[in-house]
C-alpha cells in the first residue's frame, strides 16, 4: 500500500486529470504549432484552441506592446521600441478590401463613366455632321505635315548625278580632314541612329507618364468610391444620419407620389409600410429621453426630486401612449376624415403638446367658441331684431369669404401647413368678423329662436363645406407646386445625351423625311409593271394635266407675277391699246349673260346638272332577273316575290346615301367637283414630317430649283447632293484629327522658342512681386 502511495507521481496525476477534464471537449485535434514556412495551410490545423487548464486567460496573439516591452530591456533598442509605438499610433492600418462583387461593380461603373466621357467628346463633331447640308466623304482633313527630308532616300549610285557624286566626295574629304585634325572619330550614322532612338525614347517616356497619370487617377477614383461606400455606415455624426434618413424618406415619398399616378395600390401599400416603420421607430423607446426638454430634465433630476417625478410621469405617459397607438393603429386610420388625416401628419404620440393640441385643446376651443357664438345670437334674437341681424349675418358671411381668399393668397408659399391654416382661419373669422362682446349664458330658447338656430346651423355647415372645399383646392395646388420641381430635377438627372441634343443645330434646309414601310407587291407581276412604267398612259395624262397644284404650290409666285406683269404692261403697251382695252371693258359690261345665251334655258340646265348624280344615287337597283327564286311555280304572287327580293340583300343593291354637295344650299352656285378630281391624287394631304406648319412646307417647295428658272450658280447650289463620295476612295472612319483642330505649326524660330518657355503659374509670379 505504502508503495502505492510512494509511487504517486504528481506529474502523471496532473496529466491524468487533464485528460479526464478534456474528455468533455469534443475536439481532439490539437492546435498546430508552426515550425516551418508553409505555402498552404492545412484545413485540419484550423481547429479551435483547446483551453489549457493552467492558463486561466485566453491565449492571445503577440502584440506590438510585447515586442516593445522586450526591446525596452536593452538600452540599445529603447529608441526603436519608441519608434515602433509611434508608428502604431500614427499610421493607419489598411482597410479590409470590399467584397469582390461590390468591388467589381465599382470598377465597372468607373470604367463605364470613363468611356461615356470619352465618347462624349464626339458630340460636337457628330452634331455638326448631322446638321450639315452637304457631307463630303472621305472627310476632308486638315493639312498634314510630312517631313519629306527625313524619308528621302539617297539616290542609287548608278544614276547618281555628277553633282551628287561631287557632294559626297567633298563630304568624305571634310570628314577625313576632321579625323586627321581634331581626332573626331564619331560615326555619323551611329550618331543619327542614337538621336532617333533618343527621340523615340522621349516620346515613349511622355506616353508612359501620361499613362501612369491616368492609371493613378483611375486608381484614386476607385479607392475613393470604395472608401466612401465603406465609410458611410461608420460615420458617427447624428446629423449626417438624420439628413441621410430624411433624404431616403424624401426619395421614397417621391416614389410614392409617382406610384400614385401609375399604380395607386402599390403606393398605398408602400405608404403603409413606411408608416409601420415609423411607428416601430417611435415605439422602440429610442426617442424617449433624447429631446432637449428631457435632457434638461435629466440634468436637473439629480438635484431636484420634483423634476425626477416629472420625468417618471413623462415616461409613463409615453408608455401608455405607445400601447394605445399600437392597439388602435389600424382601426382609427380608416375612420378618420380627411381633415383629421391632415392633422395626423403632425401627430406624435410621444409629444404631449401635439397630442393635447390636436385631441383636446383645439376642438374644445372651437366648440366653445361656436357655442358661445350661438348663444350670443340667440340672446340677440330675443331682442327681436331679426331682419337686421339677418342682413348683417349675410354680410358677415361674405366678409368671411373675403378674408379667406386674402389668406389663401398670402399662404401660397411653398410649404403651407393646411391644418394650421384652418385653425387660424376659424379664429380670424371669429375675431375679425364680429366685435367681441360679453356673452350672456341663457338656456331658455324660444321656438322662434330655434328656427333661427336652424338657419344658423345651416349657414354654418355651408361655411364649413366651403372651407373644406377651399382647403382641398389649396392642398391640390400646393401638391402641384411641390411636384413640379421634383419632376424637373429627375429629367435633369437622367438625360445623358443632353449635350448632343443641345449641340444639335437647326437645319437651315429642311428635307422631307419619309419613314414608312415600302409599298409591297408580289414579284410575279414585276415585268408587266416594268413595261407599264416605261410607256405609262398615266404619264401622258399627267403631262396633260399640268394644272396640278398651282394654287397650292405657287401662290406667292402668282401674286408676284400679277404685280410685275402689270407694271411691265404699263410700261410697254401703247396708249392706243390702253384706250381699246377700256372700250372693250365697257362693252363687256353691257353684255349680260342672259343676252349672250338667249336661246338656251341655261338656268334649267344648271339645275339639272346639279341634281343629276344625286338622283342616280338615290335609286335602289334590283339585281334579280325574272325567274330567279320563283321555282315554287308560276302562280306565286307578285307581293311575295317582292318581299322576298327585298329581304334578300344579295339581289338588291342599295347605294350609299348621296354625298352632300358643297353647293347644296346655294341656288345660283355650281361647284364643279369633278374637274379637280384628277389633280387631287397629286396633292399632298397632310404636312409631312419634319415640318410643323403648312406655311413652312409650302415655303420649302415654292421656290423653283431648275436651270430654266434660276441662275446657273444658284442652280448648282440648290442641287448640291447631300452626300458626296469619290469613286475608288476608301472612306476611313472618323479620326481624332477631326475632333480637334491641330495646333498651328510654328515656322519662325522665335515663335518656337516662345512656345518652349516654361509656364510659370500666376500665383507664384504674384508671390515674387
Amino acid at each position: 500500500m505504502e508503495d502505492g502511495e510512494e509511487n504517486h507521481n504528481p506529474k502523471a496525476h496532473k496529466k491524468l486529470l487533464m485528460a479526464i477534464s478534456s474528455l468533455g471537449n469534443v475536439q481532439h485535434i490539437q492546435k498546430s504549432t508552426r515550425d516551418e514556412r508553409q505555402t498552404l495551410q492545412d484545413e485540419f490545423q484550423l481547429g479551435k484552441g483547446v483551453r489549457s487548464a493552467e492558463s486561466h486567460h485566453k491565449p492571445r496573439a503577440v502584440g506590438l506592446n510585447d515586442l516593445v516591452q522586450i526591446l525596452r530591456a536593452s538600452s540599445k533598442h529603447i529608441k526603436t521600441g519608441r519608434k515602433l509605438k509611434n508608428i502604431q499610433s500614427t499610421k493607419k492600418v489598411l482597410e479590409k478590401p470590399l467584397e469582390k462583387p461590390a468591388a467589381d461593380r465599382i470598377r465597372r461603373t468607373i470604367g463605364y463613366e470613363g468611356v461615356t466621357k470619352k465618347l462624349g467628346r464626339w458630340d460636337a463633331v457628330v452634331a455638326q455632321q448631322r446638321s450639315a447640308e452637304t457631307q463630303i466623304f472621305p472627310i476632308p482633313s486638315e493639312t498634314i505635315y510630312v517631313n519629306t527630308a527625313a524619308n528621302a532616300k539617297s539616290l542609287k549610285t548608278s544614276i547618281q548625278s555628277a553633282l551628287a557624286k561631287a557632294l559626297e566626295a567633298s563630304k568624305l574629304k571634310l570628314h577625313e580632314l576632321r579625323k586627321a585634325q581634331i581626332g573626331d572619330t564619331a560615326d555619323e550614322k551611329a550618331l543619327a541612329q542614337q538621336e532617333r532612338e533618343l527621340r523615340q525614347m522621349k516620346i515613349t517616356r511622355d506616353e508612359l507618364f501620361a499613362r501612369r497619370k491616368e492609371l493613378a487617377y483611375l486608381k484614386m477614383r476607385e479607392s475613393q468610391k470604395s472608401a466612401r461606400s465603406r465609410m458611410q455606415n461608420k460615420i458617427k455624426s447624428k446629423k449626417f444620419h438624420k439628413l441621410q434618413k430624411r433624404q431616403k424618406i424624401h426619395e421614397q415619398m417621391k416614389e410614392i407620389e409617382l406610384l400614385q399616378k401609375t399604380n395607386p395600390e402599390a403606393a398605398l401599400e408602400k405608404l403603409n409600410a413606411l408608416e409601420k416603420i415609423r411607428v416601430q421607430e417611435r415605439a422602440s423607446l429610442r426617442h424617449k429621453n433624447t429631446g432637449t426638454w428631457a435632457k434638461n430634465l435629466q440634468m436637473r433630476a439629480k438635484y431636484d426630486r420634483d423634476v425626477r417625478k416629472d420625468l417618471g410621469e413623462q415616461l409613463a405617459v409615453g408608455r401608455q401612449l405607445t400601447e394605445k397607438k399600437q392597439e388602435s393603429d389600424s382601426e382609427t386610420e380608416f375612420k378618420m376624415t380627411q381633415d383629421v388625416q391632415e392633422e395626423d401628419k403632425e401627430y406624435d404620440p410621444f409629444n404631449p403638446w401635439t397630442k393635447r393640441k390636436v385631441a383636446g385643446k383645439a376642438p374644445t376651443e372651437m366648440a366653445g367658441q361656436v357655442s358661445n357664438w350661438r348663444k350670443y345670437w340667440t340672446e340677440r334674437n330675443q331682442k327681436a331684431k331679426l331682419l337686421e341681424e339677418d342682413h348683417k349675418d349675410l354680410k358677415d358671411v361674405q366678409h368671411v369669404e373675403n378674408v379667406d381668399i386674402v389668406e389663401e393668397k398670402l399662404k401660397l408659399d411653398p410649404k403651407p401647413k393646411p391644418s394650421k391654416i384652418k385653425l387660424k382661419k376659424s379664429k380670424v373669422s371669429f375675431e375679425n368678423g364680429w366685435k367681441v362682446e360679453k356673452v350672456y349664458h341663457e338656456t331658455n330658447v324660444t321656438g322662434e329662436s330655434k328656427i333661427i338656430d336652424n338657419i344658423f346651423e345651416g349657414s354654418e355647415e355651408k361655411l364649413r363645406g366651403k372651407l373644406t372645399k377651399k382647403l382641398k383646392t389649396l392642398k391640390l395646388r400646393t401638391d402641384r407646386l411641390k411636384e413640379a420641381p421634383a419632376k424637373s430635377k429627375k429629367v435633369k438627372k437622367k438625360d445623358s445625351l443632353k449635350n448632343l441634343k443641345h449641340l444639335a443645330v437647326k437645319m437651315t434646309k429642311k428635307r422631307v423625311e419619309v419613314d414608312e414601310p415600302l409599298y409591297y407587291e408580289i414579284e410575279s407581276q414585276q415585268q408587266v409593271d416594268a413595261a407599264n412604267m416605261g410607256s405609262d398612259p398615266e404619264v401622258a395624262v399627267d403631262s396633260a394635266v399640268d394644272t396640278i397644284d398651282i394654287s397650292k404650290v405657287t401662290t406667292l409666285v402668282w401674286a408676284q407675277k400679277e404685280r410685275s406683269s402689270g407694271a411691265l404692261n404699263d410700261a410697254l403697251v401703247n396708249d392706243d391699246d390702253a384706250e381699246y382695252d377700256e372700250k372693250d371693258a365697257t362693252t363687256l359690261h353691257q353684255l349680260t349673260i342672259s343676252q349672250a345665251f338667249e336661246d338656251d334655258d341655261i338656268i334649267a340646265d344648271f339645275n339639272m346638272e346639279k341634281t343629276k348624280d344625286s338622283e342616280l344615287k338615290n335609286t335602289e337597283l334590283q339585281l334579280a332577273m325574272p325567274g330567279w327564286g320563283s321555282w315554287a311555280g308560276a302562280g306565286i304572287s307578285q307581293e311575295v316575290m317582292e318581299r322576298r327580293n327585298k329581304r334578300n340583300t344579295r339581289l338588291l343593291l342599295r347605294l350609299a346615301a348621296p354625298e352632300k354637295r358643297r353647293d347644296d344650299n346655294k341656288d345660283n352656285l355650281f361647284i364643279n367637283e369633278t374637274s379637280t378630281k384628277q389633280a387631287r391624287q397629286h396633292l399632298v394631304s397632310s404636312v409631312p414630317f419634319p415640318f410643323r406648319s403648312l406655311a413652312d412646307y409650302e415655303a420649302s417647295i415654292r421656290a423653283p430649283i431648275g436651270r430654266n428658272f434660276v441662275p446657273e450658280t444658284a442652280f448648282r447650289m440648290l442641287t448640291r447632293p447631300s452626300v458626296t463620295t469619290r469613286k475608288g476612295q476608301v472612306i476611313e472612319p472618323m479620326d481624332d484629327s477631326d475632333l480637334v483642330k491641330p495646333e498651328r505649326r510654328l515656322r519662325h524660330i522665335v515663335d518656337k522658342r516662345i512656345k518652349r518657355l516654361p509656364k510659370v503659374p500666376q500665383n507664384s509670379q504674384k508671390a515674387k512681386k
Binding site: R108, G111, Y112, V115, M533, V553, I731, P733
Partner: protein
C-alpha cells in the same frame, strides 16, 4: 396696224468656235415662267419613274465556295479585296474588280467563324471551330509554294468571332470568354468574362478604338474596354442579338441585328432605351454592317432578303432579293460606299449596288449635274403621294408578303387585346409602353 419686228443679233447666241458652249440667254423673271411649279413637279415625277426603271441593283455573283458562306472580312485599304469564309473551313480572297477568286485555301476544320484583316491589311486573322486562330499573309504565296499560315494559335476555349483594332496591333476574339490579343504574342493579354454564356460576336469600335462590344447567347449585349480589367456594362434584350455593328462616323452609336426580326440602334451612353427600332424584316436578322458614311446600314436576314436602312429611320429604304438567294448569313458594305456584298447559304457571294439606280462607270459633268437636279427634285417632292407611291413601290417574294401579313395580323391582334384590357381595367393600370421600351429588359451595372 403696227407690226412688231423681231430682230436678233446672232452674236448673242451663236458660239464663236466649236469648242465653246452655246450661249443660252435666259430671262429668270418669274412672270415669264407661270408654270414653273407644275413643270418641276412633272420633272420630279419622271425622274422618280426613271429611277425605278433603272433600279437594277444586282451587279454580279461570285461563285466558287463549295459550302455556305459564313463570314466576311473587309480589307481596310483595298477596295478590290474581300475575304470570305465558308462552312467547310475554306477561305477565299476575291479580286472584286475582275470578279474572280484570287486565292483560296482550307483554313480550318469545320466552320470558319470569323475573318479580320490587320490594321494595314497585311495579315489576315481567321478563327474556326477547331479552336485555332490562324494568321495568314494577305499576299498570295509564290507559284509552287504551299498555302501555310504565318502563325497558328491553339486556344483552350471555343472561338466564335474575331475583330481587329483599327489603330493598334491588338485584336479580340470571343467565344466562352472575350480575349484581347496582341499580334506578337501567342497568349491573350487579357480575358474578360461576365457570366457563363457564350459570346458569339464581337466588334471593335472603329473610332474610339479601345471600346468593344459583344453579343452573348443569354440575349445580352456586353460592352468592354480593352484597357480595363472588367467589362463595362450589360444590356439584356428580349431576344438574342446576332450581330453588332458600330457606326463609323458616330462613335457612340451601334446597331444590333436581333433574332426578333428587328434591329436596334443604341447610344452607348443611354442603354435603357434604344434610339431607334428598325422594323420590316420578317425573319431573324442575321447580320448588319454600316456604310462608311455612317448614314445608312445594310442588314441580312433569314427571310432571304437584304434591306437597307437609314440609320435614324425605322423603316427600310430598300429591299434586295433574288430568286436563288437563300438565307443570307453575312453582309458587308464596301468602304467606298458604293457596293454591298452578301453571302448566303447557297454558297454564293453576291455584289449589289448600294444605290439601286446609280449609274456605274464614268459620269460626265453634265450628266452629273442632271443627276443632281433629279435627286434634288425627288427630294423636294418626296411627300407628294404619286411620287411617294412610285418611289417606294417594291416587288417582293410571295413568302415575304405572306409573312408580313401574318406578322401584321399578330400585331393587330395584340393591340386590340391590349386596348380591350385597358378599356376594362382601372384607368392607369395598363400603362402605355412605347415600342422602344418593350425590347430592353434591363441594364446591368
Amino acid at each position: 396696224m403696227k407690226v412688231k419686228m423681231m430682230s436678233r443679233n446672232p452674236d448673242n447666241y451663236i458660239r464663236e468656235t466649236k469648242l465653246q458652249q452655246h450661249k443660252l440667254p435666259r430671262n429668270y423673271d418669274p412672270s415669264l415662267h407661270p408654270l414653273e411649279g407644275p413643270r418641276e413637279y412633272v420633272r420630279a415625277l419622271n425622274a422618280t419613274k426613271l429611277d425605278r426603271v433603272f433600279a437594277k441593283p444586282f451587279v454580279c455573283n461570285l461563285s466558287g465556295h463549295r459550302d455556305g458562306v459564313s463570314c466576311f472580312g473587309k480589307h481596310p485599304k483595298l477596295l478590290s479585296a474581300l475575304a470570305t469564309g465558308a462552312y467547310d473551313g475554306e477561305v477565299r480572297i476575291w479580286d472584286l474588280a475582275n470578279r474572280l477568286s484570287a486565292r483560296s485555301f482550307i483554313a480550318h476544320n469545320g466552320f470558319v467563324r470569323g475573318i479580320a484583316y490587320a490594321k494595314n491589311g497585311e495579315r489576315i486573322f481567321t478563327v474556326g471551330d477547331d479552336k485555332t486562330i490562324k494568321v495568314w499573309n494577305s499576299l498570295a504565296p509564290e507559284v509552287g509554294e504551299e498555302e501555310e499560315p504565318v502563325n497558328t494559335v491553339q486556344c483552350r476555349y471555343g472561338l466564335h468571332g474575331i475583330s481587329h483594332n483599327r489603330k493598334d496591333n491588338s485584336f479580340a476574339t470571343c467565344g466562352e470568354v472575350c480575349a484581347i490579343w496582341d499580334e506578337q504574342h501567342n497568349d491573350p493579354l487579357k480575358t474578360l468574362k461576365w457570366g457563363v454564356d457564350t459570346l458569339h460576336t464581337i466588334s471593335y469600335n472603329p473610332v474610339e478604338t479601345n471600346v468593344l462590344a459583344c453579343c452573348a447567347s443569354d440575349r445580352s449585349i456586353i460592352l468592354y474596354d480593352q484597357r480595363e480589367a472588367q467589362p463595362l456594362r450589360r444590356v439584356l434584350l428580349t431576344m438574342k442579338s446576332n450581330k453588332l455593328a458600330w457606326n463609323p462616323m458616330e462613335a457612340f452609336n451601334f446597331t444590333v441585328a436581333n433574332e426578333d426580326c428587328n434591329l436596334y440602334t443604341f447610344d452607348t451612353r443611354k442603354l435603357q432605351t434604344p434610339l431607334k427600332v428598325h422594323f420590316d424584316h420578317v425573319s431573324a436578322v442575321t447580320d448588319v454592317d454600316y456604310a462608311p458614311t455612317g448614314r445608312e446600314f445594310v442588314s441580312a436576314s433569314y427571310d432571304k432578303t437584304i434591306r437597307i436602312y437609314h440609320a435614324h429611320q425605322s423603316h427600310s429604304r430598300d429591299i434586295y432579293h433574288t430568286k436563288r438567294m437563300q438565307h443570307v448569313v453575312c453582309v458587308a458594305w464596301s468602304l467606298d460606299n458604293r457596293y454591298i456584298f452578301s453571302g448566303s447559304d447557297e454558297m454564293n457571294v453576291r455584289m449589289w449596288k448600294s444605290n439601286a439606280s446609280e449609274k456605274l462607270g464614268i459620269i460626265r459633268p453634265r450628266e452629273r449635274s442632271n443627276f443632281n437636279y433629279q435627286e434634288a427634285l425627288k427630294e423636294k417632292y418626296a411627300a407628294h403621294p404619286q411620287i411617294k407611291r412610285i418611289a417606294r413601290h417594291r416587288q417582293v417574294p410571295r413568302h415575304v408578303l405572306n409573312a408580313q401579313r401574318k406578322m401584321r395580323a399578330v400585331k393587330e391582334k395584340d393591340q386590340v387585346k391590349e386596348a380591350n384590357v385597358r378599356k376594362h381595367s382601372k384607368p392607369g393600370k395598363v400603362p402605355y409602353v412605347s415600342e422602344k421600351k418593350k425590347h430592353v429588359l434591363k441594364e446591368e451595372v
